[in-house]
Symmetry: C2
Subunit: 414 residues, 2 copies
């Protein structure tokens, strides 16, 4: 056998498996495991019957292109629908700004390839979405973290960090943010902060990468659509690359997402996509298009908001019952995730080992930190398990915390 290491690119030699995807594998192999790990939407909420009807019609053969290669930019009627979706979000667009992507992960990856060279600095929130971290690191970008307040990124720390990096001679090209119900913290960035971020980007000549998969899933009891206004909505200066997705609202199995970029960048992103997979699935795009056109998505959204809000309530209640003093958390105002901090002198990594043997998994928070911090944090997804399973999972989690704490004490103190 050849020594394959000698054949690897520098990027490949540095590749590390995503902590979340690894959890998925772990989960697949286990019975009776409660998974708070991957941010999977709840499959029972998918519009199965409508999708069945739509796909049956699409495959009647009237549209010969429904199974053919398609344009790299995306299925044209879908792009038109997306212009409407963006308008509802307050963002005026032209068709030449759009690219339909194979999930938002591809959009992030394309941005990475088009913008960053080895050593370029990308600023990210602390903590930040691990899939973006992976994609940016994949092209050799250097990630520098900026702390967040409860209303989003710390703007003073942000500017200080940028100036510091530039003073050191490094090229800072972009800031990556998830303003709505951030993955992993669930934080919602204030509107005031969004406006100031845009001014900052203009002043410092930086691009903003705005990743927005969760905005439709605000929880009506504590937030409203107006709270989720994209940064891109006020971007007169062409500073924002905006990404969003149908994965959390219709279904992730379609792998249909989109991005909106300044036309000059959209051209480059399109060519990068040609190299990456030519085009997104023709049938998938048409199913999503029909689901939008027929009002399936519009009917789903209020149901999903109520559904995930109830899941958040279930997890909050279980934690309040079993974990006060043990964990610190703030119930999120939307999205799929509850971010928690351990009040015991143990790491989430150590906890995960015990937790998984007790039948509950989560993602350790350190995976989302680019500065090596976060050892005492964990991300709990409440989106997929039922409320009953959430209760079981939280009980197991707290038992595992107790066990881990006990075992990590110096023997003399036990």
């Amino acid at each position: 056998m050849p020594n394959y290491d000698a054949f690897l690119s520098t990027a490949a030699a540095n590749l590390r498996e995503s902590a979340i995807r690894k959890m998925g594998t772990l989960l697949a192999g286990a019975r009776d495991m409660v998974s708070f790990a991957p941010g999977y939407p709840a499959a029972e909420m998918f519009a199965w019957a409508e999708f069945a009807e739509i796909s049956h019609e699409l495959l009647a053969g009237a549209d010969a292109n429904a199974l053919q290669y398609g344009p790299t930019r995306g299925y044209k009627p879908l792009v038109e629908v997306l212009q409407g979706v963006m308008a509802e979000r307050g963002v005026k667009t032209s068709p030449d700004q759009f690219l339909v992507t194979t999930g938002s992960q591809q959009g992030i990856d394309l941005v990475a390839r088009v913008l960053f060279d080895h050593g370029d600095v990308v600023l990210v929130e602390l903590p930040s979405y691990v899939g973006a971290i992976t994609a940016f690191r994949g092209v050799g970008a250097s990630l520098v973290g900026v702390p967040q307040d409860t209303d989003g990124i710390d703007l003073e720390a942000l500017d200080r960090t940028l100036l510091c990096e530039r003073a050191d001679g490094r090229r800072v090209k972009a800031l990556y943010v998830v303003p709505n119900f951030q993955n992993p913290t669930g934080l919602l960035m204030s509107l005031e902060k969004r406006r100031r971020l845009l001014e900052w980007a203009e002043r410092r000549d930086v691009l903003l990468i705005e990743d927005d998969p969760y905005r439709d899933l605000y929880f009506p009891d504590v937030s409203a659509e107006a709270d989720t206004r994209p940064i891109a909505a006020d971007d007169a200066a062409g500073r924002v690359i905006y990404l969003s997705s149908f994965s959390k609202t219709l279904a992730p199995g379609f792998r249909v997402a989109w991005m909106v970029a300044p036309p000059a960048l959209a051209v480059k992103l399109e060519i990068a996509k040609q190299a990456e997979d030519l085009c997104t699935g023709a049938l998938d795009q048409r199913i999503v298009y029909e689901a939008c056109r027929r009002g399936v998505l519009a009917r789903q959204l209020p149901r999903l908001r109520a559904f995930y809000q109830a899941k958040r309530d279930a997890m909050s209640a279980s934690l309040a019952r079993h974990a006060p003093g043990v964990l610190t958390w703030t119930p999120p105002r939307g999205g799929f995730f509850l971010w928690a901090r351990l009040n015991r002198a143990i790491t989430a990594q150590a906890l995960l080992e015990h937790a998984s043997t007790r039948g509950v998994i989560f993602v350790t928070g350190d995976a989302f930190y680019v500065d090596g911090e976060g050892a005492d944090t964990l991300r709990l997804s409440f989106s997929a398990p039922t409320s009953d399973r959430i209760e079981v999972g939280v009980e197991r989690l707290v038992a595992a915390i107790t066990e881990t704490t006990e075992l990590s004490r110096p023997a003399a103190a036990r």
Copy 2:
């Protein structure tokens, strides 16, 4: 507006649009255009009714994962089916060698990212598949071409080129080949050459990237399945990364393809795919799986072979009627493409301008050459147009050749 050029990565600054995809855009805008350009399979041959039935069953909701995120390696039952497909092709595999990809283009792109650094040399056939050229160039690889004989790559030139590159201090990691009905030439590599290629790869410590999308589409009048035996079938030393696809046999709209690599490389390819799009579409993979399991694919293949063989005959006959002396070509023994050389002192680029105004397009051969050659060559796809349209297209093409030749003569000679 910012100066976006200042934000581009080196790779993005060098990105060029695929000649084939550009043709697709041209085609989409035109009426009554005969397209010999993109290698689209004929949509009327897709198993529409079976796909409709399968998708309807899949969306009945019995399998909650049919619209969910899935494992990066691919839908497990599909991987099992693929092991069977590979066995039929003479290749023994283990499950840890497989990766289901979002089209073979993604497979090629993942190989590029995992293997090549800026400046690494990839050897390719002259001419070679433009999508591979784009993906390899996208990571900064340096492409060096090797001429082909009628039975495939010139082995002596290959070894000479490799030694020459290494003598110049460059790192040659791999050779990319399309042994079966090559895109764009339609050439079939001899079995003897395949065996010698494998020995050469072992002797020179090089990996082989074997791209095999057309092998099922051999034309029974002049070739047989045995002629298409993959190089991977005799690869005891772990030198081959093999790629194949359902795009030409079931439908490209599903974006389902696969690769088989040595396990140590498959691990890296999987992680690279995590960064690129997390996973291939869940529904698409299940439709393809069911189409295999229910025998749809097996029933399709003989029909497709006869169908495309007839298309090849139609184009050969049209060319024989209208283009003798004007073009030189060898009818292919399988696949989608007929490769032709102009016998007039004009370039295919100049011809394309006239041809497109006359209502016929093709891909200029120079797009497939990494050495700037091929100005007098063109690739004619006969897969999508009907036989009648092929006749119309060839007539238009020959008229355009006459016109272009006429106009390119010095004025005095007219």
